[in-house]
């Protein structure tokens, strides 16, 4: 059983925070991962910064720019994770775009993932039709290729779900990442369709910022992913970001785990 699968089994509902690696520095990223684990994260999603993150809203775009300006690279992220793995075994999924992986070399990239204990990858610009670009390497090195399902997926839902690995990233709303005041998609209907063909855990992401939203999303699925709201707190609190992130993440983790 993969570490991700085990995390969903052990946590009735999973709280999954997202941060961008290297924002504001890789030393802080390491500290933040440990902090988020302590706050109750079941899995931590780590963004490998990209120059042109087309699926991201402004908050995460800015985090990508800050991280790259501070000199963050894929190699430095792997080095940081190798060190982190001496003290923490929290499940980790990378979120990045296909070009940083492809240009690094898929074989070398996924081999490094295995070496540093990266359990899954989420690549928003690789849809079902193109996953052959990455899946042979994921299989070879035992890394879960996490699929996204969107409100517009319709007839594609079951095709994607049937072949999903790790967990299914259910995109709550149209558009790019970022905080939303309300989520109007009929997610329960999508979850039902997924459940007909897959028993993989489902986590809802995009737009979640409040404990109430996180709880509601986790209630209809297996977990809630929180990115932009957390990244914004990190942006605003600078050196003190770990403490601020801990307070916020604890609140959300608790809300997610609470039965309604």
């Amino acid at each position: 059983m993969s570490k991700i699968a085990k995390a969903f089994r052990d946590n009735k509902k999973a709280f999954i925070p997202f941060i961008t690696a290297g924002d504001p520095s890789l030393a802080k990223t390491r500290e933040l991962i440990l902090t988020l684990e302590k706050a109750g994260a079941a899995v931590v999603e780590i963004g490998i910064p990209f120059s042109d993150p087309v699926a991201e809203g402004e908050v995460i775009q800015r985090a990508n720019s800050r991280a790259l300006a501070a000199g963050c690279t894929t190699d430095k992220i792997f080095d940081m994770l190798l060190e982190l793995r001496q003290v923490s075994q929290v499940p980790i999924a990378f979120l990045t775009y296909v070009n940083p992986i492809f240009t690094y070399g898929c074989d070398r990239f996924f081999e490094k993932c295995r070496e540093t204990g990266v359990d899954g990858v989420i690549v928003p610009d690789v849809p079902f039709e193109e996953k052959g670009e990455l899946s042979p390497y994921c299989l070879k090195y035992g890394v879960d290729l996490i699929s996204l399902i969107a409100p517009t997926s319709d007839s594609r839902i079951q095709m994607i779900a049937r072949e999903a690995e790790g967990y299914i990233y259910l995109v709550s709303s149209l558009g790019v990442t970022g905080v939303r005041s309300s989520i109007t998609t009929d997610l329960a209907a999508i979850v039902r369709q997924i459940r007909e063909v897959s028993d993989k855990p489902i986590a809802v992401g995009f737009g979640i910022s409040t404990p109430e939203q996180a709880q509601a999303m986790a209630a209809i699925s297996d977990g809630a992913i929180v990115g932009s709201a957390l990244v914004k707190i990190i942006e605003e609190s600078g050196e003190a970001c770990a403490a601020a992130a801990y307070d916020y993440a604890s609140l959300l983790a608790e809300a997610v785990k609470q039965e309604k």
Binding site: F50, S51, D52, V54, A55, G57, E58, Q61, S65, L68, T73, T74, D75, Y97, V98, N99, P100, I101, F102, T103, Y104, P124, D125, V126, P127, F128, E129, E130, G132, E133, S147, L148, I149, A150, P151, T152, S153, D154, S155, R156, I160, V171, L174, G175, V176
Partner: protein, 394 residues
């Protein structure tokens, strides 16, 4: 391998949220490209609205001055809106209308594609929003105002390098949020399938016209067909019909900016490497970690870090050659054509002219070069004045 491949290039690397939108687009395009009434409606627009066919002009003074091959200019600058961009936009916006879309969005670099989209949106009564890098809105202020006059909203993009690639990023982001009622009018032979194929098809009338026009004036095919290449739509348009004619050399001229050995360049084939970005596998200017490079060219229309996948394939197969031309060479060609033929070319097209000026004298007088003059240069006059250190008081 997925759909829309040119050798290893192309594909459909897009967020899941957009997949049904491109599938819907692909199905609609497959249907309408064979529909006689769609095609005749489009043909009427080309003739009555866009002023096609465009002329194939024998540049006699330029030919005599350079003393080598005969130079013909395909006058896409004479099209309505002043460039080849209208060919593609008429096709796409007509398709959007057939698909029941009420709203179009577009990216633009130099502003030519934005102006063409704003124009056709006005004609067809559609809402139009154009995304343009903030730096380009400054370089091409006149085109911003033209788009606004045409009823479009222009949104300056302030992220990244604030140029064409960032405008594409932003248009894709916005499309993700409103794929249901919005048609993304992509301006070049790039992006995810079906765009590279569809844009090529809508532009390929350039090469078809050249072929029949040159047969009338010379009774034979040209020896060389050349065009400037950013994403590559005018080049693909003029090349496509000549691909089977192996004796015709196809030359794409990239923007070298301050030189291919500097960081301030946009010459993708000369300096790029294989990558996956903006929905396609192709060549890109990038670093070893796959971060897309900030690119530079005096020409906002060629200032793009990638190249269309079919060009990447024509390069791999050796069917087309790709060569660089610098800012300096392009500006010299810009002035040269203005003074020699009384035609002010777009600074983009001036890159192709710059290489023609090098090549023509090395060829015999019985040889023929066709240069695709993709656009007119009115939009560039202020920027060229600045480049030459001339102070304009408007």
């Amino acid at each position: 391998m997925s759909k829309g491949r040119y050798g290893i290039h192309g594909g459909q690397y897009l967020p899941e949220t957009l997949m049904n939108a491109v599938i819907e687009l692909e199905q609609a395009y497959e249907q309408y490209k064979k529909d006689p009434s769609f095609l005749s409606e489009l043909q009427a627009l080309y003739v009555e609205y866009a002023n096609r066919p465009s002329l194939l002009y024998y540049a006699e003074k330029m030919t005599e001055d350079l003393g080598g091959a005969k130079i013909y200019l395909k006058r896409e600058d004479l099209n309505h809106t002043g460039s080849h961009k209208i060919n593609n936009v008429l096709g796409q916006v007509l398709l959007a209308k057939k698909m029941g879309k009420k709203r179009v969005i577009a990216e633009t670099g130099a502003g030519q594609h934005g102006v063409a989209t704003a124009t056709v949106a006005a004609l067809m009564g559609m809402e139009c929003v154009v995304y343009m890098g903030e730096e380009d809105t400054e370089r091409q202020a006149l085109n911003v105002f033209r788009m606004e006059l045409l009823g479009a909203k222009v949104v300056p993009v302030k992220t990244g390098t604030k140029t064409l690639k960032d405008a594409v990023n932003e248009a894709m982001r916005v499309w993700t949020s409103r794929a249901d009622d919005t048609f993304y009018v992509l301006g070049s032979v790039m992006g995810p399938h079906p765009y590279p194929e569809m844009v090529r098809d809508f532009q390929s009338l350039i090469g078809r016209e050249v072929k029949s026009q040159i047969m009338v004036s010379e009774g034979r095919l040209p020896d060389v067909v050349m065009a400037c290449v950013g994403g590559g739509s005018n080049a693909m348009g003029v090349f496509y019909d000549f691909i089977p004619d192996k004796e015709v050399r196809l030359i794409g001229v990239e923007a070298a900016g301050r030189g291919v050995d500097t960081r301030e360049t946009a010459a993708t084939i000369s300096r790029g490497s294989l990558g996956i970005f903006h929905g396609m596998k192709s060549y890109f200017l990038q670093d070893k970690y796959g971060q897309i490079a900030p690119v530079y060219s005096i020409s906002a229309g060629l200032d793009y870090p990638g190249i269309g996948p079919e060009h990447a394939f024509l390069h791999d197969s050796g069917r087309a050659e790709y060569v660089p031309a610098t800012d300096e060479e392009a500006v010299a060609a810009f002035s040269y054509l203005s003074k020699t033929e009384g035609i002010i070319p777009a600074i983009e097209s001036a890159h192709a002219l710059a290489y023609a000026m090098k090549l023509a004298p090395t060829m015999g007088k019985n040889r023929i070069i066709v240069v695709n003059l993709s656009g007119r240069g009115d939009k560039d006059v202020a920027a060229i004045a600045r480049y030459m250190g001339v102070n304009l008081h408007e």
